[in-house]
């Protein structure tokens, strides 16, 4: 079969993976659609957060609760993990061997877990200062938006673990490849959402 030019020019597997590439076409498009639906959820939570900015009800506000340092660290972690996931996709696409692929995925997973760890630490600290969701409309809005992102990252980590196990069980077959491409979409997408969060919630709150 002759290699058709890659039909789906975005994130893809490329011609070297003909069968998986074809399967990807529909799966990746479907996943894009799902992410856009998810994007609406985040967008609305952002909007809700903005409307609740002044609903402090006498409770603590952004100035007291947020810390620039940890927000910065989390941002760096997530951004770097996006980059390392990019390198993993790169290794997958150009067949750099399973070793490199697994290594980059492992690094990404560690970064992701570190991100979640720092975030949980943040929430814990906020709670210590009275920043709990039941305190005010503002804090409810915060705890709807930011932990939802964290939950997404956690699910993505779980998915990555599942895919790595699948790689051990089935080898690097079509199912794993298409899974990795979709997970990549999700991972980069979550970083984009985080750009919104650190800009609007943390920097906006501390500015």
């Amino acid at each position: 079969m002759t290699a058709t030019p890659s039909r789906h020019p975005g994130l893809n597997l490329g011609r070297a993976h003909q069968e998986a590439h074809d399967a990807c076409e529909v799966l990746v498009f479907g996943f894009w659609v799902f992410m856009m639906s998810d994007l609406i959820i985040f967008g609305l939570l952002f909007a809700n957060y903005v409307t609740q900015l002044d609903a402090l009800a006498g409770g603590p506000g952004p100035g007291e609760l947020f810390e620039m340092k940890s927000a910065f660290l989390e941002t760096l972690l997530l951004l770097t993990s996006s980059f390392t996931y990019g390198l993993a996709s790169y290794c997958l696409k150009y067949r750099h061997g399973r070793g490199w692929l697994t290594a980059w995925l492992g690094v990404t997973l560690l970064l992701g877990l570190a991100f979640i760890g720092f975030e949980l630490h943040d929430f814990h600290k906020m709670a210590g200062e009275g920043g709990v969701p039941s305190r005010s409309g503002f804090l409810s809005a915060f705890f709807a938006l930011v932990p939802l992102h964290g939950l997404h990252v956690a699910s993505a980590c779980l998915w990555m673990v599942v895919l790595m196990v699948q790689m051990c069980v089935h080898g690097l077959d079509t199912g794993v490849k298409t899974g990795l491409v979709r997970l990549g979409l999700l991972w980069h997408f979550l970083d984009i959402v985080w750009v919104g969060i650190f800009s609007l919630v943390y920097l906006g709150g501390l500015a």
Binding site: T2, A3, R7, H8, P9, G10, L11, G14, R15, A16, V28, F29, W32, V33, M36, L39, I40, G43, L44, F46, A47, N48, V50, T51, L53, D54, A55, M68, F72, T75, L76, L79, T80, S82, F83, G86, L87, Y90, K93, Y94, L185, H188, F189, D191, I192, V195, G196, F198, S199, L200, L203, G204, L206, A207
Partner: protein, 117 residues
């Protein structure tokens, strides 16, 4: 390995370099676009409104950078369902978020002025 396979390998070589470059560029740009707003908030002492505009601007550019360099979305090629999808989603998002803010802040203004920023 067949002929066509070998041919496509040479094309792959260009693409491969291009793609690696894309990730590196993306990382570099995103890093810069993150560092600057953090630095501004930490040290610039600009007035709040200016800062907010600056943060918003950097965030927007960074989102575009992510789409371009990590997700490989570009305006160049012709059959781009994902691009259309993103643009349509953005339209809907702008309608929903913009409408929400417009409505809710207008309501605050008419009914609970103390909630206005």
């Amino acid at each position: 390995m067949s002929d066509s396979q070998r041919q496509s390998d040479t094309i792959d070589e260009n693409e491969r370099r291009h793609e690696l470059g894309s990730y590196l560029w993306g990382y570099g740009l995103a890093l810069a676009l993150t560092l600057v707003p953090f630095a501004l908030v930490a040290w610039s002492g600009w007035p709040r409104v200016t800062l907010l505009w600056a943060i918003g601007g950097f965030a927007l550019v960074q989102v575009v950078v992510h789409f371009r360099f990590f997700l490989h979305i570009s305006l160049a090629r012709q059959k781009r369902e994902d691009l259309h999808l993103i643009l349509f989603s953005t339209l809907i998002l702008v309608l929903m978020v913009g409408g929400t803010l417009w409505i809710i802040f207008n309501l605050y203004g008419r009914m609970v002025p103390e909630l206005l920023p």
